[in-house]
Symmetry: C2
Subunit: 356 residues, 2 copies
């Protein structure tokens, strides 16, 4: 690979943001009505989906962004991302996991731009090293521009994390396109430690790069049921019938992730691995690791949060609120709207049950 | 004293509710904008001032209730106590402690009903034994009806409380009018223990009974400065000039409590002592002692409060809120409006500083 800084073909670059998730482990901040991608989780003044579009700014023109989300979130997307063309905000009638989501976006993009070169990204992850990220994605885009290849972004693991899937690369290289040997499910701790030592295992960030011909072909090959539904939908795309037809057809798509449907089967998968300061922000603990802390280990988001004798706490207050917390050690305190959570960080895996 | 159940002279019975306090130790529930007397502290569906009027229902006609409060709370009083005549809601231009408050109410009542027999009560205390309370007050009213006497209500102490003032009665009698020997400031613990053993010491609940001639005379004798201002105000009472004149004159009243001004000086003070299930609800801890608790010692007010592994906690949530609390032992969790408090019960004496 020759060096690349920006994507010279940005006219054909499209970014697909998958924004249909619920983020139930970040309750009470994230709720089914306003999931975490639409929230300023880090207290930086931008929601996660806004931060996601921001980091693709050097790579893709605003008119080439696409968002796939639930019908109930379309207005949130329009509010938060007013520059994205309305007909590129795709509303899933129901969540059918990532393969139908990506298929729908791909069939639409193919119709509009048969030469499209695409990045697919979750809406709700964090990338701290945005310059490195842009370089990495630009390299991947250059690779897929003329090749029938799928590129995944691998994150250099910084700890033996058991909560993520891993990509096993053929070589322990960074910043270069490498063939993928295998995708690995969430490992147990011993396996995760081995992965970390090995150097050829990278976290699967769910970020994919491909050209539209490749992904459509792959979906035809590996999920013909979904491809057939998309073909039925094709005459309606970009017409007034699209919503009606989508509602009729989309719910019968097989409910399957792109990882199961394509990644684990296709022979043309590559990875470009890099340490990008990435986090899926999938839990309060993972958000906390991305926050600045005071000398007592406390992290705070909020307009008026007052801590007295607290250690290793994460206090997250949405809106204009006076929050006084005294004498807590190792707790999450999070309040948003008409919801309040106080929970030991060590017990955060139970938040879903507590809030159900 | 002959037995008394209800007050046969309720036409002349007036109840003065002092509702000017701030209740800063019950932050965040109680605030300068909506102090605790206007709040449903116990989660029973009635605010403390409403509970206060309720317990005088058997004793006094609604048209004989008077409320003295701050100007900013007049609308709250009207909303919560719509049966009280508007011209009997007295608005202090500023708080000058209880002697000017009582003087103003007394001068007004004297003008309207020179034969008035009066109970003065704080708005924000709790009485659980309301039937015993009514009997006690009826006895006191019967006593002051024809006598130049001041009756205070003494609460049988249930613990060596160091946070209250005490009334030293001449005899260790209950349910009868007894001469007061002395008023005592908040004692240290050893003294409080001695008081408890002695049997002649009762908590001063700040509830007073007298006829209007007596209290006006006492104020003339012991606080002539305040009495003189009230005399200047007299021509304006019940006229359109009252507010203007009150704003001009009232702030120059000596700032002094009725206890210092009259109780500790007058020779005609009696006490009627009883165990009334009384609490001043002056702190979260004191409110907690009046709450029902679950087997783990937790008390909860709120529409949807979920506790997991909590002990001896008091969770108070105003409004429709989902509150999840995990793994706390001995904490107050209280939220109201845009304020949230999490604090060990053992540290509640600091709440005033924390919230300042």
């Amino acid at each position: 690979m020759s060096g690349f800084f920006l994507n010279p073909e940005r006219m054909n670059t499209h970014v697909v943001i998958m924004a249909g998730g619920i983020g139930s482990r970040l309750w009470p901040l994230s709720t089914p009505d306003v999931p975490k991608q639409f929230i300023d989780v880090l207290g930086v003044g931008r929601t996660l989906i806004q931060l996601t579009t921001d980091r693709f700014g050097p790579l893709c023109a605003p008119e080439n962004f696409w968002v796939v989300t639930g019908e109930k979130y379309v207005n949130l997307v329009k509010e938060q991302l007013p520059d994205i063309p309305a007909d590129q905000i795709l509303a899933e009638p129901e969540g059918r996991n990532t393969a139908p989501c990506i298929a729908y976006a791909s069939w639409k993009i193919a119709r509009k731009d048969p030469e499209a070169n695409i990045v697919v990204t979750p809406a709700d992850a964090l990338v701290l090293k945005t310059a490195d990220f842009a370089v990495t994605i630009a390299k991947a885009l250059a690779f897929t521009e003329e090749r029938d290849a799928i590129v995944t972004v691998g994150i250099t693991p910084s700890r033996p994390e058991t909560g993520y899937g891993y990509i096993n690369a053929a070589e322990a290289l960074h910043g270069q396109l490498v063939k993928v040997s295998e995708f690995k499910e969430k490992p147990d701790l011993d396996t995760a430690i081995r992965y970390l030592e090995d150097g050829r295992y990278f976290w699967n960030a769910g970020i994919f790069v491909w050209n539209v011909r490749t992904i459509v072909n792959e979906l035809r090959s590996y999920t013909p049921q979904i491809a057939e539904i998309m073909d039925q939908l094709t005459p309606s795309l970009f017409t007034e019938n699209e919503t009606t037809e989508l509602r009729r057809l989309f719910p019968s798509c097989e409910k399957i992730s792109i990882d199961y449907a394509v990644m684990e089967k296709s022979p043309r998968i590559y990875v470009i691995a890099e340490d990008l300061g990435w986090s899926d922000l999938g839990s309060w603990g993972s958000v906390l690791t991305r926050m600045e802390t005071d000398p007592d280990g406390n992290a705070v988001v909020g307009s008026d949060v007052r801590l007295f004798g607290c250690r290793d706490c994460f206090v997250h207050s949405a809106g204009e609120k006076t929050v006084v917390v005294e004498g807590l050690d190792g707790y999450i305190v999070a309040e948003s709207g008409n919801r309040l959570l106080i929970c030991r960080l060590s017990q955060e895996q139970h938040i879903k049950e507590y809030s159900a």
